[in-house]
């Protein structure tokens, strides 16, 4: 028992599976498998990006109008949170390779916290959409939209975003078709295109699937953190950290495309 306690835990944990010749070969096989899995993830999100491309090309006015109902600042903050978590994750992989156990645990914990931060902000955004009925399909509360716009119209007039709003209105006027219905409400008539719910259908599916991936990544990082605290990882056993990191970076990679496509439409 005494000798077992003297050996670092990871030395004992890191066995070579019988069907591999060397550790290198074992590591390469694991990494190849992870990359192939990531490829399937890219293809899965590719289907959603395709839906996005077709709807945006066919109905640009919906996207121009509806994206103003999203909070650009929260989207930008979330982007930075996720980029930072990717940085700490990449650093965690480095720490694992160098055998810096305490630093590895700390970095994994920071990454996990960033995951909570991202989902927290996302939940705040979803809640706002839910409250105002900016939802998919027939759940979309068209009746409340003029009220919402009137309530925010005063802010928009002074906010720096007003230029963008004016631009959107100009584009809609330019399109000059049945899409632009004028809704007179109170003192301010607002231009609201039809079928705004299509944007929110796409928004919720894309960010929702991405959010599920963030959640899955957090479970993986939580598991890595537990193992790291237990002392499983070292210079000869960092495969799990490396592969978990790859998954987390892919989640970041997808958000890098989602952010400008959903929040920054011009």
């Amino acid at each position: 028992m005494a000798s077992a306690a003297a050996t670092p835990r990871y030395e004992g944990k890191h066995h070579l599976a019988h069907h591999f010749d060397t550790r290198r070969q074992q590591f390469d096989s694991h990494k190849l498998a992870m990359w192939l899995f990531l490829v399937t993830e890219v293809l899965m999100f590719g289907g959603l990006f395709c839906a996005y491309a077709i709807y945006r090309a066919s109905h640009p006015e919906i996207f121009l109008f509806a994206h103003t109902l999203l909070d650009k600042n929260l989207g930008a903050v979330n982007t930075i949170v996720l980029l930072f978590s990717s940085f700490t994750m990449a650093w965690a992989v480095r720490a694992a390779m160098l055998g810096e156990r305490r630093r590895l645990s700390a970095l994994l914990a920071i990454t996990l916290l960033c995951g909570f931060g991202f989902l927290g902000i996302k939940a705040f955004e979803y809640n706002h959409k839910w409250q105002h009925g900016f939802l998919w399909g027939q759940q979309f509360a068209y009746a409340e939209l003029p009220d919402y716009l009137a309530g925010h119209g005063a802010d928009a007039a002074t906010a720096p975003d007003s230029a963008a709003d004016a631009h959107a209105a100009a584009v809609m006027a330019e399109l000059d078709h049945a899409a632009a219905v004028t809704v007179a409400h109170g003192h301010d008539p607002a231009l609201i295109p039809r079928n705004v719910h299509i944007f929110f259908g796409i928004y919720f599916v894309m960010t929702g699937l991405h959010g599920i991936h963030v959640l899955a990544g957090m479970i993986v990082i939580g598991w890595l953190l537990r193992r790291s605290l237990r002392g499983d990882f070292g210079t000869r056993n960092y495969t799990a950290v490396d592969l978990g990191g790859l998954y987390w970076h892919l989640v970041d990679l997808i958000w890098i495309f989602l952010f400008p496509l959903l929040y920054l439409i011009h």
Binding site: T22, Q25, L38, G46, L83, M97, P193, R194, Y238, F259
Partner: protein, 139 residues
């Protein structure tokens, strides 16, 4: 004279599937096929993170400039540069076996092909499209 029985030996095929020309054989590698970790230098990780933040600010700033149809392409180009940085440095592709990069690029290429052909198809029904009208949807 009959061939000696070699069935207990590792299959030679192992060598072939494992990599590219010079780093090919796991058996020939220094350290007897043990892991050779390649930790990415910290300055490089930090540099990539800083660049990603700068590009994020840039992509937000770009939406305030009216480039017409080009806006979306500028946003996608910036996102592609950011994605490349994440993949090459954070995801370690730069120092990995080339096959991983090939796999990722192939996936991206097939997504592009998929979207491209779907968009071509869209052109065929474009004349029938009533802007702003989605049949079967109630408001």
């Amino acid at each position: 004279m009959p061939e000696p029985d070699r069935s207990h030996r590792p299959l030679p095929a192992n060598r072939a599937v494992c990599g590219t020309a010079d780093t090919d054989s796991v058996h020939d590698e220094p350290g007897g096929g043990d892991l050779h970790p390649h930790p990415v230098p910290l300055w490089m990780l930090g540099g990539v993170f800083a660049t990603l933040i700068v590009l994020t600010v840039l992509t937000v700033a770009a939406t305030y400039v009216d480039l017409g149809r080009l806006n979306v392409w500028v946003a996608l180009a910036i996102a592609a540069v950011k994605g490349m940085l994440v993949a090459e440095v954070f995801m370690h592709l730069r120092w990995d076996r080339p096959f991983h990069r090939i796999a990722l690029l192939a996936a991206v290429a097939f997504v592009a092909l998929f979207i491209g052909i779907a968009m071509l198809d869209r052109v065929t029904y474009l004349p029938d499209l009533i802007p702003g009208h989605a049949p079967g949807v109630q408001q």
